[in-house]
Symmetry: D2
Subunit: 343 residues, 4 copies
């Protein structure tokens, strides 16, 4: 009999996986957790892999084996694996009766074609895709509660969608106008692969734009804001810091609005949502405010005409942008308070 409070975590070598381990290890509802890696390099427990966790994280580490997971009592699996690995593992875990939170991009899109065209990878299994909920609990809590599979969103996408959704839902964006999303991320968002441009000497005192008009998080933003592709421009930049995304978003409103009405719209839209912190007009969130948290902080500035709006949306790319949100989704799947282990 599967117990959803017994969890299997696959792939903790990257930064998101490590952060996931860090949060799960303090999660009060979890009864047992086992970590699986394709290559354990002889390590028996997490503390041997991550010196940061020694003494607080002696959870068992095992070579990855589908059998090992499915023959355990684990009821929930977290996949912090590459897209292809997730595409392969998720259907098998679902078939064995586990529920899955997948941090990869494999199951994030309504249509498998979107995935294949943006990721240049084989289409994920269609039947599995149809069981997936898109994992932003502030927008899709009902689906997440019951979904066998939750596709945890991209970090940039989470930051932009949460900022734009209230305006989009209430049709406050001027029809046909441009929406510009200028996003900046810390280096942990680029992953742990060895890359020249991620070496300290190359990024220190540096800043750059990258993947203009081609970033893979674009289709998530289009699907979940409903803004037409021809109107949305999304750009990404690399900051010389470890953690955090700040998105500056430029919107033309449908009619002149007041700062109060904008604030009221957001407060009402996100009423009761503890992981969203709204800032009053005249003050703006900063990256440090959200580092090492699961919050998404949203602020704004309005020009005197009341027509041009700048939104500022901040989150920790490893927190609300990845591992934190994965646990928030897990909490919804288990009927727990959504901020459990996240404050």
């Amino acid at each position: 009999m599967r117990d959803p409070r017994q969890v299997a975590v696959v792939g903790v070598t990257g930064y998101s996986g490590f952060e996931l381990a860090r949060i799960l290890l303090r999660h009060p509802a979890i009864q047992s957790s086992v970590y699986y890696l394709r290559e354990t390099h002889g390590a028996q427990c997490l503390g041997q892999l991550f010196p940061h966790l020694r003494g607080s994280a002696d959870a068992p580490l095992r070579p990855l084996s589908l059998d090992a997971i499915t023959s355990s009592a684990a009821g929930t699996a977290f996949l912090a694996t590459p897209h292809e690995a997730s595409a392969e593992l998720a259907p098998q875990l679902l078939a064995a009766g586990l529920r899955v939170v997948d941090l990869s991009g494999a199951f994030r899109f309504r249509s498998a074609d979107t995935f294949t065209s943006w990721y240049q990878l084989p289409a994920p299994d269609a039947a599995t895709l149809s069981q997936a909920a898109y994992g932003i609990p502030e927008l899709y809590a009902e689906q997440i509660k019951s979904a066998p599979l939750v596709a945890n969103p991209g970090c940039y996408a989470t930051s932009v969608i949460l900022a734009l959704r209230p305006l989009a839902a209430f049709l406050w964006i001027a029809p046909g106008s441009s929406v510009v999303c200028d996003c900046k991320s810390g280096a942990s968002g680029a992953g742990k692969e060895l890359r020249r441009d991620l070496q300290f000497v190359e990024l220190d005192e540096n800043f750059k734009a990258y993947n203009l008009f081609s970033h893979r998080h674009t289709p998530e933003i289009l699907e979940h804001t409903g803004i037409p592709e021809s109107q949305l421009t999304f750009s990404t930049h690399l900051l010389p810091l470890a953690r955090g995304i700040l998105s500056t978003i430029y919107v033309t409103l449908d009619q002149p609005r007041t700062a109060d009405s904008i604030e009221a719209l957001y407060r009402s839209f996100y009423a009761g949502r503890r992981m969203i912190r709204l800032w009053r007009a005249g003050s703006l969130p900063e990256l440090q405010h959200v580092a090492h948290t699961n919050f998404c902080d949203i602020g704004f500035a309005l020009d005197p005409s009341g027509r041009r709006l700048i939104l500022v949306s901040c989150l920790d790319n490893l927190g609300k942008g990845a591992a934190g949100q994965a646990v928030q989704n897990f909490n919804h799947m288990l009927g727990l308070e959504e901020h459990t282990a996240l404050q």
Copy 2:
């Protein structure tokens, strides 16, 4: 008899002033330079003030006195002083026959009203203002050559104007469309004043937007691109690094264009301008490429429709954004090669 190669430098306590000293000390055409400070704290030479310059910069340092400057043979004065101090000093130095390069905002605008409304300070002397050239040599070399006074531009403004001017001049921007300038600067651009948010612990691993819809460089951009205020959105952010500005600029083109035609436009517009480095489509400049230089690097990306253009413009806020450009202006005023001491 005044000699333009004998220079007086006023106010070298800030970061721009220090950088100016660093460049002037290696300038081959300068025959003598004297540095003036309101408060010398007993220092007799620059090396006592700046340990970085010991051994290479034992230029004399004197208490600021208008008499001392005007009774010397100095023919050129650089003012790295606050707006009010520049507003007061410049007319007196001009009256005494010196030519002036002013790094403050006091004489940057065609109308004194623009200055007073954006800076909340008394209007600068009108007669002096009428003698001022706006100091971007790539655009106004002729005026600069003969102007008694050159108003050295704002750092953000230089970065944005140089990127937009070719499009604006050739009317390639779609009429009525939004132009979004999302600019990011290192901390030296914020000056040397003691401020909580500029303390190491506050800015390290942080990033934030500031002065949205109210930054003082806005009117410079409006004047020198000709883009109507209602179309231009200019935002500024603070990066956790010391030097550099990167501006990401979003433009809707008047008609579909090719990457080649855009590159050709910029190459032709800036032909012969050594301080502008253009990047081919598909590659983008980064802050490290321009740190400690006087270059402004400009690159771009075009979406498949050929209508949406993203420009990336980089410079060193203390180089081409301040002290470097001041020396470039000085070179034009003296008929020297514009890159003298700047490579």
Copy 3:
């Protein structure tokens, strides 16, 4: 009737105070906490003071008043106040029946003279001083359990004392030999005061030594290692990062030793002490391993002769070096597990 689980926290404007609040807010044994500040700037709760804590920390904030504290049921007070303020407040709080954990230097020394000569401040009250335990629980747990007042140690001192104490206690240091402690700290250790050398542009890409032969943590190290002043050299440096102290300590051993025997000495000395993590010979702790934790990590390297030993000791200056250790002391005072709220 005072309840030790009701706590009053005085002075949370500095970095240690903020970190203390962050830890106390998640402490499961605390039944209520009230925060006191000399100047609240109209803020009613911690979240208004620290945007980082909004939503997770709406603990009440009150203007500092001895009456307010003593007329409440609070049984424990934390003082994150300047030395002089602690010297004044602690005796009054003790008199009113509270127990006190003081993060200042006022009560750290056996003799009031040591304090006055190193801090150039009036002597703390002698009767109060005699009730103080020095708050390193790995060394003085018994005293801390029952002490009315615990003097929380200096950050550098903690790092050095924990590394040297086993060798000192077992007389493994060659008599008369030099012990060199070369310590490096992040900028939060220098406090939150506005200082030129702590501005971002000054510390970024910089590194420096400071306070050589005059750092105030020196007498703590002398008292708690027992090494004679003539043998101990202690130096401090400022790192361009926010949090953490790494001390490199050079010892000449009394006789040739093996790495195994050294490791065994430390394992036995710190047996059962969960907040000390010992590293095997051949591996060394790094600052990132201890950032945002309450651990002190200790490693070493031994030269082939077995006589020269280099110890490397790391901790987070706001964690085990300040607020974390304060809570560890509190846990001992209340008979809780020492790592409560610290993992």
Copy 4:
């Protein structure tokens, strides 16, 4: 006929090589320079390889070929190549009549055995080794002037040797006492190889010791200070910044000395040496003071007994620690002023 002012530079892909190119490109005495790389990736000039240098550095880049170098008129070769490559190239270039400045470790030691035992590589050619001068011009100017081959020292070694040499030469170090050299370097000193621990996320906000008792610069320090191996402890640490080495050096003096006498010793020892900047007692050099320079700044603090001395020595590991010193050596070899192109 070879012309020493025509230079061949081999291997500019690393950080030292890049810095060397940057300095040579502004060197007024150099009549031509050609850059050679084992793999040019199709680049024809330096600016294609290093975007930083575009517009200022269109020096030719060629595939490495001994023939190409020896058949040119080049009279001087700089080798910024790995130890093995230098060991192979240097004898051949010398045989062809060029003089060589080698930045590798291959020819730094009096005995080939020292090299083989510390580097685990085959011994360099003995005849070549006997023609090599050790390239610290402040100590060995005479040999450097006439040597066919100059072995450019290690960065750490330069910093330590320059600080200790005056004391060692005048026998002011207490016989038999420990000398501790605690050295900290920025990341460019670790080279450009892709390494996990040099990735931004791993080094940002981190600090660590490495290679204790085993760093390859140890034997250089022993040879050129004359301090016995049993007395010298040399440790190295990695700083989260790009450029610079700061060494903190602990010495026990032979007898009580005054600060004045120490300052006088250093001033006299380094009289006329423009690249050494001495600091008065009571002030200390910092890394920022020497970044992007060829200076070695030396300061000190003396304890009240006059017996314990702490030296602080700073330089830029790519400047005086590598490429700058290489050019300083070149200047001596050509009979130029030693600071040519270095200020």
